[in-house]
Subunit: 153 residues, 2 copies
Amino acid sequence: MPEIYLDDLAPGQLHELGRHTVGADEIVAFASLWDPQPFHLDEQVAARSIYGGLIASGWHTCCIFMRLFADGLLNRAAAMGSPGIDELRWLRPVRPGDTLFGRVEVVEVRPSRSRPDCGIARLRSSMRNQADEEVLSFDAAVMFGRRPGAGAD
Amino acid sequence: MPEIYLDDLAPGQLHELGRHTVGADEIVAFASLWDPQPFHLDEQVAARSIYGGLIASGWHTCCIFMRLFADGLLNRAAAMGSPGIDELRWLRPVRPGDTLFGRVEVVEVRPSRSRPDCGIARLRSSMRNQADEEVLSFDAAVMFGRRPGAGAD
């Protein structure tokens, strides 16, 4: 049974999601499959790019966030997927050896009008590196089930 | 040398990006690494979810788009990464066996004021399935280098 339902979320809540350290091998392996641009694949070529060295694919950064989010919150919750996200920003490059810390802040909680058993939470999603610099931010809409018996009023 | 520079992009251009067919094994492998929610991992559990069966992680769908985008356009272009995306929507579930077709439409081309050698293109990004249903859409800002000698006026 889930521990966290829509009814347990409230604007202003902060959920810390744990950390992940990114290796060069992981950066190259991810990019080889999904984003084979030279500055994600080859240290020599990347050194001559505007980034001055190998950086992780922005989608890799999103995936690292997602894994922290699933392990740190969603898989203890009655989570039902997401219709989309807004204002995704890759704010700084992620480089080999960086340790990333995920966090979500609850911005809005809206029970569904048409489906009394669920609703949508808007979550400001963020990841920072070991220097406390924000590397990723976006607003996610996530569907959650309601606590059994809630929403009947 | 790149074939495509910022100067070669113009609003209204459509770029078809090829296709990819998604297998159940790929859906589960991706989700196991990056988005281990039950409806991405286990056909039996997924069958009892609101999705009625296994669906791909939304981030997996984004990654499939990114691979088509890199192979079909970016790796022939003077592409320099992206500061972010807006209005990302997962419009329909992606299921095992679906064939996805990527496309970008150029919406805006803006040379940089501070850096005469590059600029930003805004690209409406989209993926459709074999039934011509849109499954993913977002607006991406992508940096491109300018054709050597361009932008000096």
